[in-house]
Amino acid sequence: MAVTLIDVEYVAKLARLSFSEDEKEQLTHQLNDILKYMEQLNSLDTTNVEPLAHVIELKNVFREDEVRNGVSQEEALKNAPAASGEFFKVPKVIGPR
């Protein structure tokens, strides 16, 4: 299951990343190395091993359903590249007509 240049371009597109041709070439090799390592792990017999959902053995961590104050609108908008009045502003999105 080797990674090809097309796979790299596809994953990059999904992640909204752009790479030069050289970088793509390099990433293809690196990803293939990672997969090779995974294949090595695949050689282990895991027939009777439950899949691990989490690396720390914790479960049922909850908070009670109580309201806690967050941040003000001013603070919320402060980090945004663009704001308009009370809103974040982003480049025009094609939405439902």
């Binding site: 720390i56 479960k59 961590v61 967050g70 941040v71 609108q73 919320a76 009370e86 809103f87 025009k92």
Partner: protein, 492 residues
């Protein structure tokens, strides 16, 4: 084109916004209608380095729904990241569930108008967070309000068991009824608390493979779901009958134009690259927890409905209307209990008269004012008080309607209002006799008409006598005395 040769295959995905106080993974309020971007914190804004912590009530609520639909509750359920880029989702992923959803393999029974029943399978019910709201009509850019971002949802995914728009309507109606009974969602489709997307395909009858499906979105009422599905099924049948193919795509329902539009954006890569969210640990629901939730489940609508039919002896129509919403059923039951307390009769003897008032007058006003019956001005006990006045003969049914109207603005008991207004029914026979005699003697020609065999004039006499008694005459006595006096003239 022979539309009868085809059948539709429909599966619904329903999102219900949960009635928790705070968001799914942070303490921000879920209140609707606050100023934009005020119900936010670093967690739901997707700031780096923040850690989501699950709201316990989200689990409680999904367990209620899972049990009400006879679903299997997963022993160890996990969260996943659903990755996609859209400005309503600041983290770049939605926290959802993929593998090991909280509930699976449930079902909901629907009942058609003709009484036939059918089970619609539920593939899964899972927990997730809502996204923010985009405002598109802003000229150059798009505006984003993140108040809704992180509000808890459950998604209920049906099996492709639905065969007609009507069945889809009934299924969705049933879901709305369940979530409101369970008090986990307000069920308001217009405001988006309950949203529905449909997967639709058609195939020749007798064929077992599925046809190519489309996904229809933006149907924000029960009626719209039915209409949109009718449209889409007919569109697909017409294509197939024409020898063309259905294209797999997402469509937006346009209720005003009664049509669907293809949604081209955002769909090209349907690759969400789900993976377990390392920020959240598994949710393990043991038997003890399940039992606690099960013990606290309210009486479910189907059970309540059969109780109304069987022990209260109500007609099916009444049982359906009254149990449609929990609040209506609660109102009806309080009023019936209060009336039984007042008149000493059994509940089943009082149920029908209370049902008539609730279904006609109460629901009419509630509908006109577009309010919840919980906020209705006439509380169940006051309605019962008024009905008991009719039963004791203090007021007539006609006057009762006036009393009812008055009670909408006057918070006094019916009895006090009747006293204030001087609306006590005249049951004094001598007063009624006097009015009848006056009416008959003032209208000799009508009396002649009646005596010559025109029975219709009788009603007119009743009206005239009532007018004289200013509407307060006991109708039964008025009728009796009129009949008696007119008969006497007949003989003489």
């Amino acid at each position: 084109m022979d539309a009868q040769a085809y059948e539709a295959v429909i599966g619904l995905e329903v999102h219900a916004q949960l009635l928790t106080q705070s968001k799914a993974f942070c303490g921000c309020p879920t209140t609707f209608g606050n100023a934009p971007n005020t119900n936010v914190c670093p967690v739901c804004l997707g700031m780096p380095g923040t850690l989501p912590v699950l709201n316990r009530n989200l689990v409680e609520f999904i367990l209620r729904m899972g049990m009400a639909t006879n679903s299997t509750i997963t022993g160890s359920s996990i969260f996943a990241r659903k990755n996609y880029f859209y400005p309503d989702l600041p983290k770049g992923y939605q926290i959802s569930q993929y593998e090991e959803p909280m509930c699976s393999n449930g079902s909901i029974e629907i009942e058609a108008e003709d009484g036939s029943r059918k089970n619609i399978g539920i593939t899964r019910i899972h927990m997730e967070e809502d996204a923010g709201k985009l405002i598109h009509d802003a000229g150059s850019g798009t505006l984003v309000d993140l108040n809704r971002c992180g509000v808890p949802l459950i998604e209920i995914v049906s099996e492709p068991d639905i065969r007609s728009p009507r069945e889809a309507y009934l299924y969705l109606w049933k879901i709305r009824q369940l979530v409101t009974y369970l008090e986990i969602c307000d069920g308001n489709m217009e405001e988006g608390s309950l949203r529905c997307d449909a997967n639709v395909s058609v195939r020749k009858k007798g064929v077992s493979e599925f046809g190519t499906k489309t996904e229809v979105k933006n149907m924000n009422s029960l009626r719209n779901v039915e209409r949109a599905l009718e449209f889409e099924i007919n569109r697909q049948i017409a294509l197939l009958a024409d020898g063309k193919e259905v294209e797999q795509e997402t469509l937006l329902w346009d209720a005003d134009a009664n049509t669907t539009h293809s949604m081209r954006s955002k769909e090209e890569a349907h690759d969400y690259r789900y993976f377990p969210d390392p920020d959240l640990v598994p949710v393990c629901v043991d038997e003890g927890w399940k039992n606690t939730v099960r013990a606290q489940l309210p009486e479910l609508p189907s059970h309540r409905r059969s109780r109304y039919l069987e022990s209260l002896g109500l007609p099916r129509y009444d049982a359906d209307v009254l149990t449609a919403e929990k609040e209506i059923a609660d109102y009806f039951e309080s009023a019936t209990a209060a009336l039984s307390h007042l008149n000493g009769k059994q509940r089943n003897e009082n149920a029908k008269v209370v049902s008539n008032w609730v279904m006609t007058e109460v629901l009419r006003v509630v509908g006109e004012k577009r309010i919840s019956i919980r906020n209705f001005a006439i509380q169940p006990s006051r309605l019962a008080g008024m009905i008991s006045l009719i039963q004791s003969g203090m007021i007539s049914g006609t006057i009762a309607k006036q009393v009812f109207e008055e009670m909408l603005t006057d918070s006094d008991e019916a009895k006090a209002i009747v006293g204030k207004k001087g609306w006590v029914q005249v049951s004094d026979t001598s007063a009624i006799e006097q009015a009848v005699v006056e009416v008959l003697s003032a209208n000799q020609s009508q009396v002649e008409t009646f005596l010559s065999g025109n029975e219709k004039v009788f009603g007119w006499f009743v009206g005239e006598t009532m007018k004289k008694l200013r509407g307060k005459g006991n109708p039964k006595l008025v009728n009796e005395i009129l009949r008696e006096k007119l008969n006497a003239k007949h003989i003489s």
